[in-house]
Amino acid sequence: AQKVTQAQTEISVVEKEDVTLDCVYETRDTTYYLFWYKQPPSGELVFLIRRNSFDEQNEISGRYSWNFQKSTSSFNFTITASQVVDSAVYFCALFYSSASKIIFGSGTRLSIRP
């Protein structure tokens, strides 16, 4: 089965704290892609990152970093020194090549308190 699980429904932290959003996926495909999207209160969906299944190198982009571990089927997202503007719903997604489809997790609502 192809599945994406974001077990954290809501997270609330105080500004400047670090926060990690978990994403666990299931797939039988050997070639797949993982994504993170951000949905701010305004509602639009913003692409953050894409990783393919053959590249387990972690990535850092400013305050954002991603930890991809195939051994645990996880693709976790960490925000360092969080800011109020990071408040949003974050979606993890899996694209599996066998069906050329993408499926989304249910999202994690992140609230950053001043």
Partner: protein
């Protein structure tokens, strides 16, 4: 460059009415998608298209029809609206994969649809 544009942004319908949501993209993308977003369920794929003149069913296609007569447009139709179709609808498009690299989806701003 407008990207992906959805119209309308909001709509209220009565049960049994029909309507069409329009998605237009100006990036010459081959693939287009319609999703619905419901609380606690993430985004679910309704229908998608891999090119002009082609459509395919996604995860939750019942009660919806789509058409892709022009490459830049992907229409989502509700034949007879039901309260269960109250949702936020997102359209997305993406380029063909290149050199084994999967291209990310670009999303419209969403259409909030309420069925009374």
């Amino acid at each position: 460059n407008a990207g992906v544009t959805q119209t309308p942004k909001f709509r209220v319908l009565k049960t049994g009415q029909s309507m069409t949501l329009l998605c237009a993209q100006d990036m010459n993308h081959e693939y287009m998608y319609w999703y619905r977003q419901d609380p606690g369920m993430g985004l679910r794929l309704i229908h998608y298209s891999v090119g002009e003149g082609t459509t395919a069913k996604g995860e939750v296609p019942d009660g919806y029809n789509v058409s892709r007569l022009k490459k830049q447009n992907f229409l989502l139709g509700l034949e007879s609206a039901a309260p269960s179709q109250t949702s936020v609808y997102f359209c997305a498009s993406r380029n063909q994969d290149r050199g084994g690299s999967n291209q990310p989806q670009h999303f419209g701003d969403g259409t909030r649809l309420s069925i009374l």
